[in-house]
Symmetry: C2
Subunit: 340 residues, 2 copies
Amino acid sequence: MALKRLGEFGLISRIRARLKYRSGQTILGMGDDCAAYKPAPGKCQIVTTDTLTEDVHFKKNLIPPERLGYKALAVNISDIAAMGGTPRLALLTLGISAESSLPYLNKLIDGFLDACAQFKVELVGGDTVSSPKSLFISVTLIGEAPKNRLFTRHGAQPGNGVFVTGSLGNSALGLKLLAKKKPAWKGSPKDVKFLIDAHFSPVPRLMESKALSRSTAKITSMLDLSDGLAGDLTHICQAGEVGARLWEDRLPRSPAFINICAANKLSSAELILSGGEDYELLFTSPLKDAKKIPGLFKKAGSPVSQIGEITARPGKIVLVGNNGRETIVSPSQGFDHFKS
Amino acid sequence: MALKRLGEFGLISRIRARLKYRSGQTILGMGDDCAAYKPAPGKCQIVTTDTLTEDVHFKKNLIPPERLGYKALAVNISDIAAMGGTPRLALLTLGISAESSLPYLNKLIDGFLDACAQFKVELVGGDTVSSPKSLFISVTLIGEAPKNRLFTRHGAQPGNGVFVTGSLGNSALGLKLLAKKKPAWKGSPKDVKFLIDAHFSPVPRLMESKALSRSTAKITSMLDLSDGLAGDLTHICQAGEVGARLWEDRLPRSPAFINICAANKLSSAELILSGGEDYELLFTSPLKDAKKIPGLFKKAGSPVSQIGEITARPGKIVLVGNNGRETIVSPSQGFDHFKS
């Protein structure tokens, strides 16, 4: 059965019937011209939007629809986490063809709504529009953050440590594995699955962000890694008018990433610098606070690594290789939607 | 020059440089993972999102880019007006091709930012994504409304009057005039221009909505007309479990609309019922309050008409024709993105 038999308002009714999480803040949810809600007192409101487009952010034949629905929310939650915030309400815009199969759409919507329940986000509205040539999913996410503890990109200082959660490059390598036609990559199926899962199901670092927000550690800048370490660290350096030095041997890699890179002779530093879609937190902190950080993350159960330091040379990012040699990292190693 | 030479971050910088209106509520505007703002105390927050997609909502060769940018904001403001709210902050997502011409994009963005300045809305964020096959513009608009005076679709009562601002069908007829190839329509160029302008540049009824919000008139339901009178009145009837009777001779028509319909033998009732994109307010009010309403709108300088009444027969909408005969209005005369 195709969407055109159900119609726009039928689809919206289906989505409403499948809602699993409701927020106490909502005055008026889906189905009117606007949603209405009470903001939490004493906090500031934060808002972000991220869109996934077919053949750019995903290939429809590669990512299962449930995972696509999950990911559309997760990448937005990652932006809320990057500010030290808590996600609350979502709007979902689907650009879909009238020929779309309903089972496909149901799975996509279920994946999105399951993610909403998992992260305690209420879907309060959105738009469903015809997009005959390619599918897109646009999510706006509203959350809140403490007024005096808002993590931004601005404020990195020379001498600060550069930290990152988790391990890097898994998603980028997972995408490579997915995209390449046979002959298949070398490596164990378990490693391959781990990397592809990292690409399909990024886990936004909400708990880690909360741990930082509640701590007394000074966090001078923070963002989430979506465009690759080179591009995103460039954003922090530009905002703070500083530079950075990274140590190749400190870049955190998962065992699966190490195994698959080695078996296929891939440059792991290149994948980490330019790969993107890690959705890990990248942040800077004075070295005197650095010792507090591993303890904070032990509670959240996730690794954190110091991968470098902020320097006084505006815009200049260097990588100290395993051989001790320094190479300049170009911001263009990060992802740009339009530059060719 | 094409977008691919400027790149994503170059485009974002251009947009930032062209911002004309800043809100006192904003803590952190464009350029970080999230925007942050202080909600107005004592009000509820309202949020809406609407997307315009190429070849569905607009033809790129028909609508000038400045008008497209204006319209992308205006249709969202209309949703805020429909709740009795005030728009405050916007997010803009552009789905564009790397081959897009920069002069075109600049005009589109200027149209959007001019509209932001006109309606006192600050652009605080968004997303720019590659969409090689078709252009789309998605706007999320955040505003506020009095907690105890939120106009919703629910609550129309039998015996209530059905009211509408302005005149209907202009935009739908304007679109018809635009779409049709030569031989051209009959009618004066002035009338044609008026109708095409109504299609390109809808004026959201913010002032009228504020006048209603501040008044003591009881408004039992309200929405903005975007899908055509038949479809939108059906939403009010379904939400209130009521029906409605409309009087054909009371449907407000502009002189240009009357002239062009007559010259080309078009059914004006059909255009009004199924046309869409009027962006007028449709609301219901007890008849004892009805006499207050024209006075309220005189201040706002815009016409208002009682076009019918709410009846007790759920879902049944009838049109009393000029000849006195009743015909049933089908909700499917309204616009649905997917039904064929």
